[in-house]
Amino acid sequence: MTSAMQDGLLAAGAALLQAGGLLALAPLLKTVIKKMKARLQNRQGPPLLQGYYDLAKLLRKEPVRSDVASWVYVAGPRAYFAAAVAATTLVPVVFAAAPLESAGGILLLVGALAFGRFALATAALDTGSPFGGMGASRDMTIAALAEPALMLGLFASALAAGSMNLGVLVRTLVQEGVTRHPADILAFAGIFMIVIAETGRIPVDNPATHLELTMIHEAMVLEYAGPDLALVEWASAVKELLYFTLLVDLFLPVGIATSTAPAALLVGIVAWVGKVFVLAIAVTIVESTNAKLRLFRVPELVSISLGLAFLALAIRFL
């Protein structure tokens, strides 16, 4: 067996493992945030495994589809899911390398998530329900505004490390120690705001609402049921976990494993879980202390983020 083949098999194995791991943990993250939100409101909240129960229930249900829709409606959730799963292999999680690092870096990651969004928004138009169109329109609009801010924030961090590849970037950050620059705070704040917008959280979207006038993501997937809905929900959860991991990688890669020694990997796992949990707390606090913005106030929020990212670039390099 040649070494190239060995490398390939190793990468494929790592990719499977990482995708499987993130898929397995993503529903938990959603439930944890729900639970913490509930506790802040003096409610009990769902049990920690509720996310899994929901998915299991949906997957067992009879698929119901609109009689208006074509195959695009069926393909949408599958492409959305596949794009999210494929994107997980581009990001270092507990080990300072991404399984499919040689496939591409930040630009491919952003492109992969955009692919999923395109698929879901297109499929949402297929039932003829006005809600699907409304959700697709709003989702694509907000994504279009968020994309330059996200890119600029990512560029600010990537250019500092001299690489657009997440694996190289994280290794550079770890090897050089955490030499932090004030620009990082700005870039972090900028990207964090975009993560809030992209994951459909308050103040941009409300994951708990089904009120016609305010929903965005939920309007888009309103007509889905059963296994189709399970795929969408699951992929959205994976996407959220992925964004959190990205933030952690770029701004606080402390503890990430640089060798395959079991102890280092264990530290890596614990550090990653801890950091993601801290971010989850931050998101919970943001969600609990803010009101949802009107749709046409969202551009202001996004432009603040864009401004922060641009400032980060400017003070870092000028």
Binding site: A15, L16, A19, L23, E62, P63, V64, R65, S66, D67, V68, A69, S70, W71, V72, R78, F81, A82, V85, A86, L90, L100, S102, A103, G104, G105, L107, G111, A112, A114, F115, F118, A121, T122, L125, D126, T127, G128, S129, P130, G132, G133, A136, S137, R138, M140, A143, A144, L145, E147, P148, M151, L159, N165, V168, A230, L231, F296, P299, F310
Partner: protein, 677 residues
């Protein structure tokens, strides 16, 4: 094979010329006309492709003579350089499927008495364009340029009963000739200084210098910018491209605009010596402006062909900004970076040609099937036209710059150029790069929104008009070219490394660029100058994506449960096409957010007959402000008309006055000549 390559260019042009004559002679036999014109176009394109591929492979130019007149010592030569070959490859790659599609499309869409004119004009247009790409001197270049322009104008005016078509053709002619005038002036200045009209002499980069050089640059920038459809020289494009028959529109949008890009490459970037920083800034800023405004205007169009035309402006802008980044790099002496940027721009020329012709041809099929260009009257076509729908969807994914398809690699390379530009150029001016990158990100995200809308509203859900509910799938001869182009979108999207490899020789042949060793490529992917900076292998991502698809199938497809079909909830009423979200509504949030750009006006009138509380009918009219037409061209036009009015005094229509002018002129000439001898 070598023999064919040596005479390929004159042979291809001869085939086109003969077919033009033959088509015009067969004017009464529409069917024969169609086959002669389109068959000749395919044959000539294949010959051209053979030459172009040979030149790209061997990276050495092929020179020869097109026309020789011994008595006057006129020789018009051609020279297929690697750069020409790249554009010729793009041309023939698109011309073949376009011609094949047209064999089916023209039979339905063109009235028989006009077939001869359309067929002849098509071959004249493509032939003219070929001459433009291979000309080695000013005369041949301008002849080709003019033939191409006039033939295109004829094609735009195909449906000359409609006022809109005539107006579009007229606007196209006027704008094109403003451009040609600028080119003529530029070439004459260069020619008179150098004392030659050969490109090898006047584009050597040492002919003019100083402010003269910048003036010449400006002339060429406007001249080629008009053809490339860069904002603010774009006003003709959204009128002319939709007016032509759809397969011709496809060729115009995909290939004809690259005549402008080719000129910008050959003359502005690499023909006038090392570029100035200000030129690079002009390129980058107008490129970015075209990209962003192009997509914003595309997003609000409800005419599918106008939408695609505006998106052409956007993509032309992306090509120009890539070239601008290259010029900025050259101005700072960063040759590797310039190579990346040029490769990005040239790769986008090819990729855009493929997906834009795919989308235009797909739109042509839809327009033919429904008899309208209005998106709000489509809907539900995925069921009626499944193959057209599938190919259009692939084109829509590609043009949105999404991975796995061919829009992604060229945008990826453009981002590489912009990001490396930021790290490797000095001074404040480099802040342009991340700003441009952010706007490019905005552009591609808006393009995604635009094509979710264009595809979703046209092909999905319920038919929105009786015509759409009775649409029929196009014949196979129109579907095969679409399938071919869609396959190219996927293949070039998965294996961009091969395209970059082919581009290696092209970039190496341009002055000031590094040999291709600076860039990496391979079957698996490509990387920009530094592998550690970034690299991409879409095919690996494709495997991961397929893995995800398999996973989703495993999750949902375990049990053979029958899928239950149920009606969509109609919000308490019956679900009709009228309750669907419209294209106008889809783009409304963007319209409101970018209100400062669009400056929309709308007027809602409630018509009541009996009492104002019982509204009988609501009339709604919405418009976005045509900024450039209103604030740039209208004052300009007014100035020209006023000047012409002033000149009218001279041309009073009195024979006596004219005789007096002749006399005065003769006297002045005699005095002047007498004074000099």
């Amino acid at each position: 094979m070598d023999g064919l390559v040596a005479v390929g260019v004159p042979l291809a042009l001869a085939i086109r010329l003969v077919s033009v004559v033959a088509t015009l002679m067969l004017v009464r036999h529409a069917r024969a006309c169609r086959w002669v014109a389109l068959g000749a176009s395919i044959a000539a394109s294949v010959v051209t492709a053979a030459v172009a591929v040979h030149v790209i492979g061997s990276t050495s130019s092929i020179d020869g003579t097109l026309f020789r007149h011994a008595a006057s010592e006129t020789v018009l030569g051609y020279s297929v350089t690697p750069l020409s070959a790249w554009f010729l490859t793009t041309l023939s790659l698109i011309a073949v499927p376009v011609a094949l599609y047209s064999t089916g499309y023209f039979a339905h869409a063109i009235a028989p008495p006009r077939m001869a004119a359309v067929g002849a004009a098509l071959n004249a247009m493509v032939g003219g364009l070929e001459v433009v790409f291979v000309a080695d001197g000013v005369i041949a270049f301008l002849c080709g340029w003019e033939v191409m322009t006039l033939a295109t104008a004829a094609l735009v005016a195909t449906e000359h009963e409609s006022r809109a078509s005539r107006r579009a053709a007229y606007l196209f002619l006027v704008m094109s000739h403003v451009g040609t005038g600028c080119l003529l002036a530029g070439f004459l200045i260069l020619g008179s200084v150098a004392g030659s009209l050969s490109f090898a002499v006047i584009l050597s980069g040492h002919v003019v210098s100083g402010s003269m050089r910048s003036g010449v640059f400006a002339l060429f920038f406007i001249g080629f910018g008009v053809k490339a459809g860069l904002i603010p020289f774009h006003v003709w494009l959204p009128e002319a491209h939709p007016a032509a028959p759809s397969s011709v529109s496809a060729f115009m949008s995909a290939v004809l605009i690259t005549a402008g890009i080719y000129g910008l490459f050959k003359v502005c970037a690499f023909g006038l010596g090392p570029p100035d920083v200000n030129w690079a800034l002009a390129f980058m800023s107008l490129g970015t402006l075209s990209a962003i405004l192009g997509v914003l205007y595309a997003l609000t169009q409800t005419d599918i062909k106008r939408l695609l035309a505006y998106s052409t402006i956007e993509n032309s802008g992306i090509m120009a900004l890539g070239l601008g980044a290259a010029m900025m790099a050259l101005a700072h002496g960063r040759h590797t970076l310039a190579t990346v940027a040029v490769a990005a721009s040239l790769m986008h020329v090819l990729n855009h040609a493929i997906f834009k012709s795919l989308l235009f041809l797909g739109a042509g099929s839809v327009v033919m099937a429904t008899g309208t260009r209005h998106i709000e009257h489509f809907g539900g076509l995925m069921r009626r036209m499944p193959w057209t729908g599938l190919w259009f969807l692939i084109g829509a994914l590609a043009i949105s710059g999404l991975p796995l398809l061919n829009g992604f690699p060229s945008e990826w390379l453009t981002f590489q150029a912009l990001l490396q530009g930021f790290t490797s150029t000095p001074g404040l001016v480099r802040l342009n790069f991340p700003l441009t990158a952010a706007l490019l990100a905005l552009t591609s995200a808006l393009a995604a929104a635009c094509f979710v809308r264009a595809f979703g509203i046209s092909f999905l859900a319920l038919p929105r008009s009786p015509a759409a509910s009775e649409a029929h799938e196009s014949p196979a001869v129109m579907l095969v070219p679409l399938g071919f182009l869609a396959t190219l979108c996927v293949v070039l999207g998965l294996f961009p490394g091969f395209v970059l490899r082919a581009l290696g020789g092209v970039t190496a042949s341009l002055p000031g660029l590094q040999p291709p060793a600076a860039m990496m490529w391979g079957g698996l992917g490509m990387s920009s100058a530094l592998t550690s900076f970034d690299h991409v292998a879409p095919v690996m991502f494709g495997l991961a994506f397929v893995g995800g698809l398999i996973g989703s199938a495993a999750l949902t497809g375990r049990r053979a449960v029958a899928v239950r079909q149920a009606p969509t909830w109609g919000c308490g009423g019956e679900l009709t096409p009228r309750s669907e979200y419209t294209a106008t509504a889809f783009s409304k949030p963007v319209l409101m957010i970018f209100g400062a750009v669009y400056r929309p006006t709308r007027q809602v009138d409630a018509v009541a007959e009996v009492s104002p509380y019982f509204v009988h009918e609501i009339r709604y009219r919405a418009e976005i402000e045509p900024t450039f037409e209103r604030y740039l061209y209208r004052p300009l036009l007014r100035g020209v008309v006023r000047m012409a009015g002033g000149m009218k005094v001279l041309q009073a229509g009195s024979l006596h006055a004219y005789l007096a002018y002749v006399l005065v002129l003769a006297v002045i000439l005699l005095m002047w000549l007498g004074g000099t001898t």
